[in-house]
């Protein structure tokens, strides 16, 4: 047999080695495949968490930027129509979710008691309720967001522009706001409705820093408790505060894009739904439109 034949013999008979392997071979293989599947899941999960947190960071930044753009657009339109539009009818319910107020309309306000009541009440803060999740991913994401927020919204904010007296025109009266700085982290504001030298109405606002965040706190008879709104967006002439638990206002916006005017805008989540009493409150110093309440104040020298 020459060399070519030997080669041919082996080549032609390759199948003699064919043999179905022992069943245990498949079992071993299956165990390894199971382990591989488990490990792949963990890697994928971790990668997803990192990717998701990065996306969220990018998303948060771009959403904030986009939101501010959208808000500006909306408010720009509002700004143009404000001077000429009439008061539109607002959808009102008889909902008794909010406690009815003992609302004192007439008479001169005793300066003493509201202040005292204010000090006690202003300790209420809106608290974030982050769902406790056993997954690490949520922690990673919230930590990342928190850090991003911290970098985007440094705690020190300048609200000195707010200080002093502001005036707004109401039908046969004046809306007045006075802001003073109580401490480095606290600004107090008081709003009056004045008609014919009578102070008919008063509300109190506060800007307060707590930890890394600034809060806008609303105190009035229309709501049983003071309500705190957490700053969610800041730029020197456009500031947004939010409280997702409140239907109206869901957001409070300081819009200062026009010089000398500070426009405070109150936005609902969905349609504005107010009890009669609340409606009374909001129309005192604000213009109530279909989808927002606005008050424009000019710095009074």
């Amino acid at each position: 047999m020459n060399e070519k034949d030997i080669f041919k013999v082996f080549q032609a008979n390759e199948q003699v080695w064919d043999e179905t392997p022992n069943e245990r071979a498949w079992q071993r293989l299956e165990q390894r495949l199971d382990r591989h599947r488990r490990e792949a899941r963990v890697v994928r999960f971790r990668r997803l968490a990192v990717a998701a947190s990065l996306l969220l960071v990018l998303g948060a930044v771009s959403v904030m930027a986009l939101q501010s753009q959208q808000e500006r657009a909306r408010f720009a339109a509002l700004e143009e129509t404000y001077q000429t539009s009439d008061l539109e009818e607002v959808y009102v319910t008889d909902a008794t979710d909010f406690q009815p107020i003992q609302y004192a309309k007439a008479g001169v306000i005793d300066e003493g008691s509201p202040t005292r009541r204010l000090v006690a009440a202003m300790n209420y803060f809106y608290v974030d309720e982050v769902e406790e999740s056993s997954q690490d991913m949520m922690k990673i994401l919230s930590d990342t967001l928190h850090n991003v927020a911290k970098s985007i919204l440094p705690a020190k904010r300048d609200f000195t522009w707010l200080l002093g007296d502001w005036v707004g025109k109401i039908a046969d009266g004046k809306s007045i706001e006075q802001w003073e700085q109580v401490s480095e982290d606290v600004y107090d504001g008081t709003g009056f409705l004045v008609k014919n030298a009578d102070t008919l109405f008063m509300e109190q606002m506060r800007l307060q820093r707590k930890g890394e965040s600034w809060y806008y706190i609303l105190q009035s008879d229309a709501y049983a408790q003071p309500v705190a709104y957490k700053m969610s967006y800041y730029s020197p002439d456009f500031i947004v505060f939010e409280n997702p638990k409140i239907q109206f206002p869901n957001q409070v916006v300081f819009d200062r894009r026009m010089d000398t005017v500070c426009s405070t805008v109150f936005l609902p989540k969905g349609k504005i739904q107010l009890s009669t009493a609340q409606l009374d409150f909001w129309i005192q110093r604000n213009v109530l439109l279909q989808d927002k309440a606005v008050r424009n104040l000019w710095k009074s020298i």
Partner: protein, 176 residues
Amino acid sequence: MTEHQIIAACRRGDRKAQKWIYERYSPKMFGVCKRYVRKQEDAEDVLVNAMFKVLTKIDSYGGKGSFEGWIRRIVVNEALMLLRKRKDFQYAASLDEVQIADTVDVVEELKAQDIIKLLEKLPVGYRTVFNLYVIEGFKHREIAEQLGISINTSKSQLILAKKRLQKLITEQNLMG
């Protein structure tokens, strides 16, 4: 379902598809393993390792060329890795020392078991090069690269393998 569809399912980690591919190719691939590593347990190890790689890295099979050929390459590599680990390789002398033997007439028909036994009797160096050249169809240059030897060594190993086989067949005939 076509094999193409089953491969697609395998990419998704479908266990049924994986088992189907294993069952279809493992007898032949087990044969490949046995040719290289001889011991049954070793052959099984190589098979399991190789099929694991096949099933988990199936994404790297682009669809070009035969699927069986792709599997076979993985199996052969796995076999070679085991042999390398065992440090079984001992290569005989270079080409110069090879002496031309007389050709011998042998019985034309060799039984299947004989063929298997013959290959098993070859030392690992001869056997590996013989497998790669004769059955897998690699060129000497490729074999040299794969095994980390010179082309001359690969050629001499093949010639020596042939001579040894011839001798074994002759002995068998004389005895049988």
